[in-house]
Symmetry: C2
Subunit: 235 residues, 2 copies
């Protein structure tokens, strides 16, 4: 049984449409490769009560919860406090986090009060390395808290994931069918019924020359996937 | 008070990372323009029980719920059934939906059993026009059900939104500051405290020449936004 996960993306900028999120898709691909089954992505605003409520729902339902956003130095960065509140633990500036942060500033005075907010870590958390801008993420229990800036998020993910236990990597095969999905749906349903351990999806597309369908099968057994690919090519 | 909304994106292909969703961002921008406050985006798999549970949570918490995906002709298209189950109503092939669908096929035999699935509409729903491939979406209560293919989703949104009552459109101003956010955070917090009805966010970015910050203020009052823009330019 592969471990399950959820991603919680935190930020008004995604909900207003200003920012098109890329962190969810990036991490989704990494988790599939690692064999961790992603069951939900949720986007919530910079609102303490909403973040706490979402964290508590997701961390109880999944083996891993990954968050993105809200751990910078400004007034709207409230994720660390929300995580501490969700777990009912304290939060304060931690010496190791402060020391890491300090390596980013030649002039000690630049590590001002607002920047020191980035060294506030909930009690009992383990730091996640940030090779880009130093300010660390952290893991508390099964919740992994990372930055929202994509280049930093991706660097944190690259450092974190090898420490997590996954399962067999999810593999997939994809076949392009130059027919609208309604023309192949009945036969495809029969194929899906014969391969119940695979997830078989049908993704229609539109081009200038008409409608087509990408058939994608996903699963953990490479032999079964090879067998189903042969069947799908007959459609 | 502006109406609130949630978006429910349905599909294994988003959670596996294969598909990078664009419908959420497109609708988020449209809703901001219309003055409907988007409070959540949730991505769930093609799983009946999970979809029903998410629909019931979201439709009770928000004025509008918009769904994307899972209304095609194939075995993995289960959204319409999940919506009927969430509302506790029946679902069957409806004559008006069948007639619309039939206009898409020159040969009546092409409207096969699987394609007829796209004319199955929950009892009491109102159809949403699909000018691209005919198969309609539908609204039931405060839940608006649309296709996942972006070109079709966007066409359905364009037809649906004018029928919904919004509020004052959300406006925003954006100022680029060539300083890392830690350098402006304290002053920015003071500005945010002086404009409590505006949502003021700070979005750091990384370029070859170093760290910078986009400051974005959002709200419904154009005069307040103009005033805060002057203050932010002083940072």
């Amino acid at each position: 049984m592969n471990p399950t996960a959820a991603i919680l993306l935190i930020g008004d900028e995604i909900l207003s449409g200003r920012t098109k999120d890329s962190n969810g898709n990036h991490l989704a691909k990494c988790l599939a490769e690692l064999g961790i089954a992603l069951h939900e992505i949720r986007v919530v605003p910079d609102d303490h009560a909403v973040i706490v409520s979402a964290l508590n729902a997701l961390r109880k339902a999944h083996i891993h919860v990954f968050t993105s956003g809200g751990i910078g130095p400004t007034h709207d960065d409230i994720t660390a406090d929300a995580v501490a509140a969700a777990f009912g633990v304290g939060i304060s500036v931690r010496d190791d986090a402060r020391a890491i942060l300090a390596t980013n500033y030649d002039n000690p005075a630049d590590l001002n009060e607002m920047r020191l907010r980035m060294a506030r870590i909930p009690d009992g958390a383990r730091l996640i390395d940030n090779p880009i801008s130093k300010a660390p993420g952290f893991s508390l229990g099964n919740v992994h808290v990372m930055a929202g800036v994509p280049v930093i998020f991706e660097a944190m993910v690259a450092g974190l994931l090898p420490s997590l236990t996954g399962g067999a990597p999810m593999r997939s095969i994809s076949v392009r069918v130059d027919n609208p999905e309604g023309a192949v749906a009945a036969e495809l349903a029969e194929i899906a019924a014969r391969f119940p351990t695979l997830s078989i999806g049908s993704y229609p597309f539109v081009t200038d020359s008409g409608f087509g369908t990408n058939i994608v099968a996903r699963g953990f057994d490479a032999e079964l996937l090879a067998a189903v690919e042969v069947e799908i090519h007959k459609l």
